[in-house]
Symmetry: C2
Subunit: 477 residues, 2 copies
């Protein structure tokens, strides 16, 4: 038998095929309806269903993540058709893979009983991921449908605040005692039969469930079977407390190339496991959220969301920016008299404001990066502040001169050029100070510095840029 | 014996300790030098060395990634002291962990012979990572120092362009034949002894090295040892070609929760292996580069880089933005006559320009996200363009009215308010079109859409914002 190699590039092709089948299906339907034939129900439904059956077969052969990809890329009506063709045992896995916005549209299509059916095929930690997105009556019915052990696990995960190791952990681990031989472990695993997909090591615990060490599967394969677990296990395991931040855990996975790691409570008792798959999803979600929220998008938009919904997704940001623009506009308003006298100021003023915003955003990006990597601490803070201010001063003199020269060439006015240079230096210094302190302050307040820093900066560099430039001009020109 | 649990939060503490030891060391040195004592060489060097020995012991107990963290957080002089205390066998691993900017400062401190010594402890793929950052004479000497098999592997990795699966692959895999029993495989592994750190599966190949399937270690532990490899192996392995893009590979790792995957040539012969550790580094590096390049930073800055070097890192961006600001400034210049007549225009015009830039950047973020996830294709392009334009139109009318009302309240001029609304609608439409087409165009041209899209957008929304607003004002007011 020729084996089939599975290659990534097929995914776009599969999507084309699905769209094609859906199109054919629609064509048949519309033909049947248009011709208004006497309804030979059986024949009609056979023809109509032919493509759907083919489609269903195709979907069954796909990985849940691939079905998720296809659902995300289908317009709402077709998404619903495809979603109803998916087998119940895959429903849960697919719901976990799709983006939040698309998940909402899929859940809308489901009955309470369907959700409960889908949840039967999910692990406790996966159910815990899903529950917050369900309507409250559905969530309640789902939780009560679980057996008590299962429910306790789901509730334990749900009890940890978002962004902690506890909220991300799962229960896909196998524990052994340190005083047994590897041979006993091997026989135990064989009897147990199935092992979790991404398992790379066993957790060694004592009678009170306190973590003692880690036993990599690798060692089981190559070490003498007569050795004890305690002889072979790693005795300095990297572990996490339930309330450690998920961000820190992700850094540790990256730093030490981990595949899995134990999660313990304050008594060092094993309570869960972090896997690289969950960590990767967390990293992806975080960086995605960061990019979107930097431009003020509250959530990722479903590609096929309505115009009205998409517009609302962007309003908070627009309102905030209009407020900032209003303030800057009023600052200019203070100097209308000066502008009336020297109209060149109106032409030149946006340069001062814009360059301040640009350099300030560079500083913000570096500070946010430093915060994410835990690199900013009292030991190097002053050194860093000095660097940013000095760079701004240097750039202010250098590029301020370029801009001043430009002003002089255009308006043959030395005083105007000098005002321009001075305003540039001043605004770049403000930009560097605001660029350093804003993200640090937001971080101290427990907020994500990636969100909001840029708006605060722009508010300052715009208003202050106009104020310094027009103020100096009022005094000296 | 009490076992030691290794917890992430210790890292900041370790850094404090290192800094403390370095400070004590400096204190001793300065005391000795200041007092200008008759030099009792032995005593002096003993005292001086005491702290360094302690420091060295501390460093030896640390993971290379942790030493890298500490090096990145030390000022240049102290970084050099610590770097010289690190054992040669860890040099290579540490060089691979530090950021590019810091790596440069460390390599500057090394002799050719030291690099070659460090490389002895590295795998072929790791040497290939390092070579491009070495001065060319050092790189050449390093390559000639390798044995021929080793060198061939290094060169094979170096031969693939950056950003492909081939350039990321390593050789940490174990192959088996499909016609042997699991028992034979188990005995083979035991004889082989050591297994690569992150190995989760064996690659099954035939006599011509063509990939036939994958054999998870898990299966080896629980399946009947009499079964053949071909009975147990996964026959539809997910694999990559050497010239597949690394970005696609990363998407597949995330989608299918992979730990490792084979890399094959066009004849489906196994040539290498992708591991999750490399993929995670790739993802981190890519997202880092994207964030930095969005604000025009050419590379990550060493926390302790000189002011001069940091300033240069930001010049290309500043120059580009000043050019954009000049153009916008000249557009305003066209209408100086109008502004002189109605000075309120100078006060209001930045609002139109800024809001255009803000909404356009939202569109850009969504398009870049869609491109990264392979979600944009001819089937949904028009639908997406329609959505963006419609959202802009809606927001233009809505927020344009708010802004128009603001203008009316300030200046009691209905025509001015209407010009303001019309200009807002016009500029938001331009913003949505530029926001959709700029990243798509850059992507088509094979460029990274995250770099440059935003500058092009700002150039358009600023210039056009001023042009439309002042142009309409000139005609109608």
């Amino acid at each position: 038998m020729q084996h089939e190699l599975k290659h990534q590039k097929n995914l776009q092709v599969v999507l084309e095929q699905v769209l094609d089948l859906l199109k054919k299906q629609q064509l048949v339907e519309s033909l049947v309806h248009k011709q208004a034939m006497p309804r030979h129900d059986l024949v009609q439904s056979l023809v109509e269903r032919q493509h759907l059956v083919e489609l269903q077969k195709k979907l069954e052969r796909l990985h849940p993540a691939d079905v998720a990809f296809i659902l995300e890329n289908l317009p709402l009506a077709q998404r619903k058709i495809v979603w109803n063709l998916v087998k119940v045992e895959n429903d849960g896995a697919i719901l976990l893979e799709v983006s939040d916005a698309v998940r909402e549209t899929l859940i809308e299509e489901m009955e309470n009983s369907e959700i409960i059916g889908a949840a039967k095929h999910l692990d406790s930690d996966e159910i815990a991921d899903l529950v917050p997105d369900l309507p409250s009556d559905m969530a309640l019915e789902l939780l009560t449908s679980l057996d008590s052990q299962h429910r306790a696990k789901v509730q334990s995960v749900l009890s940890f605040p978002e962004g902690t190791a506890g909220a991300l952990m799962d229960f896909d681990f196998v524990t052994v005692r340190e005083d047994v031989s590897l041979d006993v472990v091997l026989r135990y695993l064989r009897i147990r039969g199935e092992l979790p997909e991404q398992l790379d090591q066993l957790f060694v615990v004592d009678r009170s469930n306190v973590l003692k060490g880690l036993l990599p599967l690798r060692e089981l394969l190559i070490r003498d079977a007569d050795l004890l677990v305690s002889d072979v296990m790693k005795t300095e395991p990297i572990f996490f407390y339930t309330d450690d931040s998920a961000r820190e855990a992700a850094l540790a996975f990256e730093r030490y190339d981990l595949i899995s790691a134990p999660v313990v409570n304050l008594h060092h008792q094993l309570v869960g496991c972090l896997g690289i798959d969950v960590i990767m999803d967390f990293i992806d979600e975080t960086s995605q959220k960061e990019i979107l929220s930097q431009v003020g998008l509250q959530e990722e938009e479903d590609l096929f969301a309505s115009v009205w919904k998409s517009a609302q997704n962007r309003w908070a940001w627009l309102a905030l920016n209009i407020l900032v623009a209003f303030i800057a506009s009023r600052v200019i308003g203070l100097f209308e008299g000066t502008i009336e006298r020297i109209v060149a100021l109106a032409t030149l003023m946006p340069i001062v404001a814009n360059i301040g915003g640009n350099t300030g955003n560079q500083t913000i990006a570096l500070i946010i990066r430093g915060l994410a990597l835990d690199q900013i601490h009292p030991n190097n803070f002053w050194r860093m502040l000095y660097k940013e201010v000095a760079v701004s001063f240097l750039n202010g003199i250098l590029w301020g001169s370029v801009v001043g020269l430009f002003a002089f060439i255009l308006y043959h006015n030395v005083s105007l050029a000098i005002v321009m240079i001075t305003a540039m230096i001043g605004n770049l210094l403000i930009a560097s100070l605001v660029g350093v302190f804003t993200p640090l302050l937001l971080h101290k307040l427990g907020r994500d510095p990636a969100i909001g820093s840029s708006v605060i900066l722009t508010a300052m560099t715009d208003s202050m840029g106009f104020f310094i430039f027009l103020g100096l001009a009022t005094i000296f020109l």
